[in-house]
Symmetry: D2
Subunit: 348 residues, 4 copies
C-alpha cells in the first residue's frame, strides 16, 4: 500500500509483506509473461500462427530477459507498459506474439491474477481470525462487560456478544469472498476495441484455452470498459477492512483508563511518557478502515469508463486497487496480531 | 435524493417519484408501525404479554394517529424518533408495546423494508433496460461505428459491441440484486445491547415470528453494530449507477458534433442558443454516477461503528443510504428515457 | 441538507432553518430574479436595449409571477430551469430580457448570492461559538482534566488546553471566511461560451454594473468552467464542520462512564433504557463532519469540468454544495446547543 | 505518490522525482534531525540543560548515524518512529535531547518542512505553466475554435477563451499558495499533551527559537489535534490538480477525430494499433485530478481527531498527504510536458 508499505520505517506499521508480494512488480510481470506465453500457445486455435511457432514463442517469452528501464521509458511514452513489453518479447520470440491482443488484455488479466491470489490469501486469514475470535470467546465469552450504546453505558452483557459482533461479519466476508472468486476469476480478452474481431470464428475456444492455462475462466465477451467486477472486488476489500476497523475502534475504547475492559500485552511506547502503553494496532485498524473507505470512492468513480477504453479511468484503478488490497492485507495482519495480544477481556 | 428530489423545479431532473415513495416518511412510518405491531403480536412467544394483550395492542398500533410534530421534537431531543413514537403507541395501545426492543431494531428493520422494496423495483427496471438495449441491438447492432480507445479512433466495430458493453453489466447487476436480496432481507432484533437478553429462551422463535410477519428472515443475532450488509447494498447501488454513468458518458460523446454516432429526439434547450439540443439525460447519468461514487465512501466510513451502537456512524447512514437509493432510482429512470429517445446509432 | 433537513421528524435533528432559508427555492428564485432585473437595467451599457426598455423590463421581472410547475417541466426538458424562467420573464416583461446571458450566468450568480449570505451567517455563528468557548474557559479553564493521547491517559492538564483546541481552529476559520468572502463574491457573466462576446466593447462596464447592483464584484472574465472558487468554498465548509466534529467526538468521549469529565444537561432519551442520557448533539457533530468530509470529494471531482460548460460536473455541484452549506449550518447550530448544555468540565 | 511513483515501470508515468525527493525518507529524516538539533540548541532558553550541553548534543545529533532497521522495528512497536529515533540520538548525544517534546512535535514539524518546500516548488511550477499558457495564447489565441457547452457545439470563440480558462485558475492558485505559505509554515511544539507544560515560563521564547532555526514561525499554541491547517493545504493541492484535470480533459476532447482542434507531438503508442497516437498525458491529468479528489476526503475525515492526539486520524494523514503532494507534483509536471507538445490549436 502507498509508499508507506515500502518506506524504510513506516513499513514497520503499514507493510504486509505477503500481500505486497502478490502485487509486486515481479508478480505483475510474471502474470503478464504468463498471459503472453498462453496467448502464443493458444494462437493456433485462432489461426494466428502454427502450433510449433506458438510453442516456440511461448518458451522464448518464458525465458526472455525484460529490460525494466526500457519498460519504464515505454510507459512514460505510451501510458502503459505493454507496447514496449511486447516489443521486447517479439525481439526474443519472433512474430508469434500478442497478435490480436491489446494492452488492456494483458494488464487486466495480470491484475485479476493478483486479485485472485489475494482473495485466496484473505480467505485463509479470515479463517484464522475467526478461529482466534472463537478461542477468545471460549476464554472470555462468559465474562460480563458493560454494553455501551451511543458512547454511554447501557446494560451489562456477556463479552461474547461483542466478540461475535466482530466475528460474524468476518464469517459473512468469507462467504462473500467465496462467491466473488469465480465471478472475478476471468481472463480479459478483447483485442483492439474489445470485440475479439481479430480472433476470428474460434475466438471463444481460443479465449477458453488462454483462460484455462492461467487458471481462469473465459467470459463470453471482454470487459474492457465494464468495470463493475473490479469495483465490486474493491468494495469487498473495504467492507473487510471496515469490519476490522470497528473491532479496532472497540478495542481502543475498551483499553481506555476508566473503562479497562481489555488488556493487551506489548507495544505502544511513547517518546514523552514511558509509562504509556498505546493500543497502536487497534488504532491502525481504524486508520486502515478509513483509508480504504476513502479509496473505494475512486474505484466507483472509475466506473464512468468512456467508450472502449478510458486511459483516465483505467489508470485511476492502477493507483487505487493495489493499495486497497494491501490495506486490507495489512488490516488482516494487524487484526491477527492484536487478537494474539489480548490477555484479558472484562474487568481486571 | 437530497432536497433536489423534492425541489420545486430541480425535481424535474432529479426526482424519481416511485423510488422516493419507497423511502418517503410515510413508508418509513408504515414500516415502523408494522414492526411494532408485529412485535406486540409475537410478544407472547417471548412471554412479554398474553396473546390477547398483544393482539389488542397490535391493532391499536395499526390504527394509532401519529403526532408528527411531537415526533420531530422527540427526534431533536433523543437523536432518534423511536422513544417518542413508542410513547405515542403506548398511549394508544397500552403497555404491550416495544418491551425488549430498542430504537435500532425499529429503524433498521424499517430501513430494510425500504431497501428490499427498492431492490425489487430496481430488478424490474434493470429487466426493462436490458430489453430496451436488446431492442436497440436488434435495430442498430449490425451498424458499423468507430471503436474508440483512450479518446482516439481505434478501429471500426459493430454497434452491438458498445451496446453490449452497456447491457452486460446490467445483467450482472440483476444477478447481484438477486443474490443480495435474501442476504439483506433480515429483521433487526437485538434489544438494548443487541443480545436479545430480554427476550429470554424463545428469542429465536420470537424473532422468526416477527420476521415472518414482515416478509423477512431472522438472522441468528442482531447486526446493530455490524453494518457490512448495509454497506454492501450501498456499494451495489453505486455499481448500478456507475454502469449507467458509463452509458451516459458514451452517449454524450457519441452525440458530439464531428462524431454524430447517435441521434436523440427531444429535450435539451438552451437559454442562449436556440439551435442547441443538449444530451441532458446522458449528462445526468454521469452526474448521478459520480454522486453515488462520492456517497459510497461515507457508507464505508460508517462501518467503523463503535461498541453496541454508534449514534454518529448510524446517523451517517441515515443521511446517505436513502439518497443513494434514490440516486440509483433516478439513474434507472433517466436511462430508460434516454434509451427511448435514441432514433439512430451509427452514421447519419 | 438532504431530505433529512425537510423530513417530518429527522428535521428535528438535521434541520437548520436559518441556513435552509438562505438556500431555499424561494431564495434561489429571488436571486435569479434579481440577476435578470439587474441585467435588464444594465443592458443599455452594452447596447442591448434602451434605458427605458431595460428599466421597464426590470420592473416587470421584479413583479412577475413565476409558474413553478412550468419551471419544473422546463428543468426536466432542458436540464436547467433558466430557459423556461426566461420564457416566463419575457412573456411578462418583453424582449429586453436576458439577451447576451446564458443559463450558467443566472444560476451561478444565484448560488454565489446564497453562498455569500451563508458565509456572513457562519461568521456570526463562529463569533458566538468562540464567545461561548471563552466563557467556558473562564468557568472551567483552570480545572485539571486528564490529557489523553492515542486513547490513553497521558498527563493531567488544564481544561483550557482542550477548550482552546476547540476554539483556536474556529478563530482561524473566521479568518478564512473573511479572506474568502471577497474572493467568492463575484458575479458570473460570460454569455453562451463564456467570452462575453455578445456584450460588445462595454462588457466590463456592463458586468460591473450588474455586479454592483447585486452587491458583488465583477471578475475580468467568466468562471463557467473554472470551479476552483466554488470548490475552495466547499472545502472551507468542510473544514469548519470537521473542527466541530473533533469537538463533538471529544465531548462524547468525556461523557463516557468511567471518564465523566463533562456533564451535559437535557436530551438523549432511549426507548429501551430510561436511565440513559445520550450525548446526541455531540454525536451529531461527528456525523455532520464525516458527511461533509464525504461530500467534499464530489466537489473536487467536479473540478474536471470539460470545455465551456459541463452539464455533468455542474449538476454534481447542485446536488452537493447546498447540502454542504446546510450541513455546516446544522453543525454550527448543534455546537452552540451542546456548549450551552455543558454544566461541568472536570471531575464531579 | 503511492507505490506507483517508485514502481519499476509505472514510475515512468506517475513519478515526479523532484517532489518525491521533497517527501523522501531521507528528507523526512533530515527534517526530524534538524528539529531535534534545534530543540537541543534552544533547550537552555527553557532551562532544559546548559548552553554547552545543548550545543554539544545538537552537533552529535547532526552527525549521528541512524539505524533504519531499528527505526522500522520501533515504528512497528510504537506506532511512530520517534521513540526509537530519540533513543538512538540519546545514545549518540547524551541526555540533552528531546526532553519536553513529544513524537508529534517531531513528525508534524518535519511534515511542515516537506510541505513548505513543496509549496515553493509548486509556486515556481505554476509560474512556468502560466508562462507556457501565455505563450500559447500569443501563438494561437486569435484562432477561432468551436465553443462547446454540455458536450455540444455552441458558438465559435477565440482559442484564448479556452486557454484563459486554463490559466486564470492557475493564477488564483498561485495567490492561494502565497497566502497559505505563512499560515502553514509553523513549528509544532506542544509536548506530551500539547500544553508546553514542561517548557516552563519561557515556552514561547523557546518555541520561537526552535521555529526560527528551522525557517518557520511559532504559533501561540500547539496544533496537535487541530488539523485544519493540514487539511486546508491538502484541499489546495487537490484544487490545483483539479484545475489541471480540467485542462487535460479539454485537451483529450480536442484531440478527438472529428474534432481535431489540437495537435500534440510525440507519445501515446498502442500495442494493437500502430497508427494511433494517444493523448496519454492529457488523460493522466484527469486521472491525477480524480485521485486527489478521492484522497482529499480522507484528509477531511482526519479532522475528527479525538482528544490530545489521535493515533488513528494522524496516521491516516501519513498515508494520504505525501501522496497528494506527489500527485499534484506529477500533474504539474505532466501539464508542463503536454503544453510543450502542443503544435497546433484550431483547425488543421
Amino acid at each position: 500500500m502507498t509508499e508507506a508499505g515500502s518506506h524504510p520505517w513506516l513499513s514497520g506499521l503499514f507493510d504486509d509483506a505477503e500481500t505486497a508480494r502478490l502485487w509486486s512488480p515481479e508478480a505483475q510481470l510474471a502474470h503478464m509473461r504468463a498471459f503472453e506465453a498462453a496467448w502464443s500457445r493458444a494462437g493456433p486455435i485462432a489461426g494466428l500462427w502454427s502450433r510449433d511457432e506458438g510453442a516456440a514463442a511461448a518458451e522464448a517469452i518464458e525465458r526472455a530477459e525484460v529490460d525494466l528501464q526500457a519498460l519504464r521509458d515505454g510507459t512514460a511514452r505510451d501510458g502503459v507498459c505493454v507496447p514496449e513489453l511486447v516489443r521486447q518479447f517479439k525481439a526474443a520470440a519472433g512474430a508469434s506474439v500478442h497478435r490480436g491482443a491489446t494492452s488492456q488484455d494483458v494488464i487486466d488479466t495480470a491484475t485479476i491474477l493478483c486479485l485472485v491470489a489475494t482473495l485466496d490469501l484473505f480467505e485463509q486469514r479470515l479463517n484464522d481470525l475467526i478461529l482466534s475470535l472463537s478461542a477468545l470467546e471460549d476464554r472470555f465469552g462468559a465474562v460480563s462487560i458493560m454494553g455501551r450504546t451511543r458512547m454511554q453505558a447501557a446494560l451489562p452483557m456477556l463479552a461474547r456478544t461483542r466478540l461475535q459482533s466482530w466475528s460474524v461479519p468476518l464469517d459473512r466476508h468469507r462467504t462473500r469472498l467465496a462467491a466473488l472468486r469465480p465471478q472475478i476469476s476471468v481472463v480479459q480478452i478483447g483485442g483492439a476495441v474489445g470485440d475479439r474481431a481479430s480472433l476470428g470464428a474460434n475466438a471463444a475456444e481460443f479465449s477458453e484455452a488462454v483462460a484455462t492455462s492461467l487458471g481462469l475462466s473465459a467470459p463470453p465477451q471482454a470487459w474492457h470498459s465494464a468495470r463493475d467486477g473490479i469495483s465490486e472486488a474493491a468494495s469487498l476489500l473495504s467492507l473487510i477492512s471496515g469490519s476490522l476497523g470497528k473491532m479496532g475502534q472497540d478495542i481502543a475504547l475498551m483499553a481506555q483508563q476508566g473503562v479497562e475492559e481489555i488488556l493487551l500485552s506489548g507495544g505502544g511506547g511513547s517518546s514523552a511518557m514511558p509509562h504509556k502503553q498505546n493500543p497502536v494496532l487497534a488504532e491502525l485498524l481504524v486508520t486502515l478502515a478509513r483509508y480504504n473507505a476513502t479509496l473505494v470512492a475512486g474505484m466507483h468513480q472509475s466506473l464512468v469508463h468512456e467508450q472502449e477504453r478510458s486511459g483516465a479511468a483505467w489508470a485511476l484503478e492502477w493507483l487505487i486497487l493495489p493499495q486497497m488490497a494491501q490495506t486490507t492485507g495489512c488490516a488482516l495482519g494487524a487484526a491477527r496480531q492484536v487478537l494474539a495480544r489480548i490477555t484479558r477481556i472484562g474487568p481486571a
